[in-house]
Amino acid sequence: MKNLKRINDFVIRFANVNGSGSASANNLFAKAVFRLGVPVSPKNIFPSNIQGLPTWYEVRVSEQGYQGRRGGYDFIVAVNGQTLEKDYDDLLPGGYFFYDSTRALSGHYKRKDITLLGMPLTDICNREIENPKLRPLLKNIIYVGALAHLLDMDFSVLTDSIAKQFSKKPKLAVPNIRALELGFKYASDHFPGACKLSVKRSNKLSTHILMDGNSATALGAVYGGATVAGWYPITPSTSVIEAFDKFTRQHRLDESGKRKAAIIQAEDELAALGIAVGGAWNGARSFTATSGPGISLMNELLGLAYFAEIPVVVVNVQRAGPSTGMPTRTQQSDTLACAYASHGDTKHVLLFPCDPKECFEMAGDSFDIAETLQTPVILMSDLDLGMNDHVCLPMEWDDKRNYRRGKVLDKDQLESMTEDWGRYLDRDGDGICYRTYPGTHPEKGAYFTRGSSHDEYAVYTEDTDAYKRCMERLSRKWVTARTLVPAPRIKRSGKPATWGAIFFGTSTYATYEAIEMLDKKGIALDTMRLRGFPFQDEVLEFIDQHKKLFVIEQNRDGQMRTLLINELGIVLNKLVSVTHIDGTPIDARYISQSIEAVLAKTPKGGAA
């Protein structure tokens, strides 16, 4: 048997029971790797449940900085009896199987190609930890201590992390540090030199941060000047609002301690968006955060916001649908539902962030775009991006930057106006008209906002020409929108490439890695990462430059492919779907294998 032997390059998977406190222990491990200067990518694969169901936490350690999932795992910490067999079976050859040996393994466990590391965790807990309430929690900390030895990690990073975590309650740090030591001691006594995977201090990380996308999105909303938020609790978007609440409590208070934000937990997603629409109509930057089922309910008000031209921001942290689906698993499966949300002819601006840095930037920009265009903007995040921690460089906010509030007439502008003002009068030819906030001027600028057909002066009309003029103007605005959404990122392989690859959002990092893997095998692909909808001319140009292109995404039906075909008029078989739908984040090996499989069937010389 050949043991896996690697430094700073492996995948470790923790198999736990949810609600047992494992998340914080596993997070402690990931953070320790991060603090050792090694790029790390943790993924929490958890159930829709409070306590008692299987949960996994996968940590990829990658000196080379690969942040996507790789596929497969080299080390498993198996402390959940419910999934023990499968966890054992799925371990890669040469891998390490760490388990609680308090109970002996049954006859199933006969593999010869892996290393067994049995540690009597429960026994140690029962013997060494007096308080029975603490035992289940500290059991997790004990295995982290053991890992420190097995993976040859600098132990002080772990104890420092504990000290930092409990800096306000130092008493709680004591039993945790003791648990770490118990694990470390047992491992050094029983497993000397047993594990050939290791984590060595590195200089690959400098000022980097380890942050979840939802916190970054919330920060973007704070910095972007959002003041009104309506929301309804739904996984995986809830932590966007929780973080917005936290950050505004810390950094948005007036001199008397009162809040410069109004956050309302609504009765449902209809009301959540209604609140945001009302706030935006009245001149406050307003948003809501939700997930697929919430988007379904919000369709009604998205149509109103589109037609009445109200600049509202919706954060959609996508999860696996349809219906309740797998509410704690990730997907990119709301692309079409959001692009064309609501009845009648509607289209919405979409932004596709790929990491926390872009969550922050795009959330900040989304309010500028929405107010410039006077239309809803939907930030398309997902569970993987929103709820998992990601290594990224710290974001910067340009203090000289001003909010672009769009075409809004103030009191003086209304006062000096000699011509008739019409809320929906397109003076500039870009489809965007001038709006006013309620209460601005005693005599001028009042109008009646409505979801019913209206003329240029916001008056109800069933005049067919007036209706057509309005709908056609909204199309002109859509053309303007293309100049405002972020441009795609195109990477050339540097070799003649007949094939291209298109992807977006959280498919990004795994795809870049897959492209490198393929490149080493002599398969060259140019890539284009989409960052916004509507699509710019560059998107079509890139597609035109290639004979065929893969569209890589995390849904069943290839929704982005459909959107590209529909919006750009691409020949159907030019775009080949690579889809990943099991609810876990897409991984590099899956992508490269899928692409290879397609190319193997394609006649040499590239696309048929």
Binding site: Y223, T227, G279, E396, D455
Partner: protein, 350 residues
Amino acid sequence: MNSKRPVFRHPDLPKNNLGYTRRDYEGLDSTLCAGCGHDSISNSIIQACFELSIEPHRVAKLSGIGCSSKTPAYFLGRSHGFNSVHGRMPSVATGANMANKDLLYIGVSGDGDTASIGMGQFVHVARRNLNMVYIVMNNGCYGLTKGQDSATADKGSSSRKGQPNPFEAIDLCEMAVQLGASFVARGFSGDKEQLVPLLKAAIGHKGFALVDVISPCVTFNNTQTSTKSYHWIRDHMEATATVDFIPQQKEITAQYEQGATQSVSLHDGSAIHLHKSDNSFDVTKKRVAVNALEHHREKGQILTGILHVNETLKDTHDILETTDKPLNTLTKKELCPGNQTLQKIFENYR
């Protein structure tokens, strides 16, 4: 429909404290059926705002969908209006109010818009105690879709369709009292003497003010067999008290000859004076209101007037502890913590 109306004002028209005439509070011509109760309510709103000398442009009018929800076009033409989505006016009003606490928010809804499709939102805007006037133009039927019964139609009442309504009726006022609404009143579109002071009191109240106005539908539900018809309401209407609204700047000069008077002071120093025929009705007690509503229903009567007032409840802004300045006036300087703070925040993510 013409968006412009003549701006000519007769110089002798009476003016209010701001120098505005009643015409300055009017809107476009109504397109509702002649004799519709809703038009009388619009007129009462105009009258109340005129008499209270409210700056027309400092009002935001919001509505849902239905005949009732069209009316904001017919009053306060100098105010911004928002005819939103069926049943969703309460959430839109909530967001609007959060954005600017300094405007007066008048929401107009109907019985379908509130008691059916918008029930969820109505319930929650009431319990949030949003500072707004919520007017239900209640005719017991769906007018725009040609006369179906609504959820406030009384059991056994039949509209022009002739079929008695087999379902129980929802009493929005009784519900609102139970939900913790801080001001609950019921009026009748045909009784302006009562409705105008009710609306003035609702406007003076800080917090959620429900004014449920029975407003007969002349086209579909004004039959001999309907309990929301003009003649039925006139015959079965009882009032809790005669209402006088005393704005803060006015000296109290009203004289009452008989019965008991209850005074309720409002936040801004104005007051409601209730001149009552029945001494036992204390509007500050929820249970009294519910009992009275049930009692009158059993007798086949419709209880009108101010049913409940609670001036001690905080409104949404006070509950959320929002800053005194309207949120929509805050600038980047007041909202953006700056790059230095951002870099400090990141210390927690290392």
